[in-house]
Symmetry: C2
Subunit: 160 residues, 2 copies
Amino acid sequence: MDPTGTPAPGTDVCDTPEHVGAVGHALFRVARAHRVAAARLLREIGLYPGQEIMLGHLAEHGDARQSRLVAELGLDASTVTKSLQRLERQGLVERRPDPGDRRVSVVALTAQGRDLQDRIEDSWRRLDALTCEGFTDTDRTALTALLHRLERNLASCEED
Amino acid sequence: MDPTGTPAPGTDVCDTPEHVGAVGHALFRVARAHRVAAARLLREIGLYPGQEIMLGHLAEHGDARQSRLVAELGLDASTVTKSLQRLERQGLVERRPDPGDRRVSVVALTAQGRDLQDRIEDSWRRLDALTCEGFTDTDRTALTALLHRLERNLASCEED
DNA sequence: TAGCAACAGTTGGTCGACCAATGATATTAT
DNA sequence: ATAATATCATTGGTCGACCAACTGTTGCTA
C-alpha cells in the first residue's frame, strides 16, 4: 500500500498496528531477502555469503593481519578465524606467520583468490541492480544516506 | 574510510569507488549491527534474535501450523522446526498434533510465552528508537517506504 | 483400488555469527 | 628481571539460516 510515495505527511508510521518495531522488522526482512539473493549469486562462483566480503576487503586493502580484518569488518575474531580456515582450504587465501611478531598471522589472497575478484564485483553489481530496480539516483542516494545514519546510530550504542 | 561521516547529501554515492555494491554493502553492515543490537536487548529476556519474531507472530496471529509459519515468516521449514524445538524446550511454546490431519502439528504460545510478549514489544520499541535516533517522522516514513520497495524487488526475483 | 504425486515435518550437514575460555606471545609496570 | 596485563589467534559451544535427503500422510488419478 502506498509503496512508492506520497507518504501523506499526516500518516504516522508508528500507528501501523501490525508491528511495534516497524523499521526494525522491515530491516530484518529486507536483510534476510538480501542475504538469500546474495547467496544465490555467490553460489555460482562457489562462495558462501560473507566470504566475498573478506576477499573483497583483501583485494581492496591488501594483505592484513587477522586483527585488522576483525576491526575493519566489525566481526568477531573467532568468526574471522573460521572463515579464513575455510577460504584457505579452498585455496583462495594464504596465512603466513609474521616474522616480527610471532602471535600474528598475515592473510593474503592467493592468485586464485585474486582471480575471483572480478566475478565477485560482478555479483555485487548485479545484486545491487536487482535490489535497487526502479530506483532513481535520488532514491539510491537517499537510501544510502539513511542507511549510513542507521549504521552510525547502531554503532554508537555499541560502545556501552 | 571516512568513518564518522559527513555524508554530505550532495555526494554521489555511486561514484565512491571503494565499493561496487554500495547499497548492498551498506545494507549488510546495517543489518549486522542491527542484529547485534537486537541480540543484546533480547538477551535480557532470555531470547536469541529470531525467536522473538516467532513468538511475536504467534501472539499477533494466533496458533498456527508450522507450514503457515514457514510461509508467513518466509523461513526455511527446517529453520522453523529447530527454532520451535528450542522454544518448546524453554517452555515458551507448545506443539500439539492436529486431529484432522496427522501430518501437521499446531503451534501455540504457552502462558509463559504469552507473558513474554510485553517485554518483547518493549524491546522492539527500544530498538527502533535507538536505531532511528534523530529521525523525523518524514525520515522514518521515507526509510520504511524505501525498505518496502527493496523487499518487493528482492522478493520478486526470488521466484525464478 | 493401487499407485503416485504433493504436502508436513524432521534430521543431518554446512556456513556465518556470537560468546566464553584457552594458549602463546608482547608490553608494561613494579 | 619478574610479575601483571594486554594482544593475537584458536577451539568449543550455541543459534539462526540454508539445502538436501528422508519419513509419514493425504489426495488425486489412472
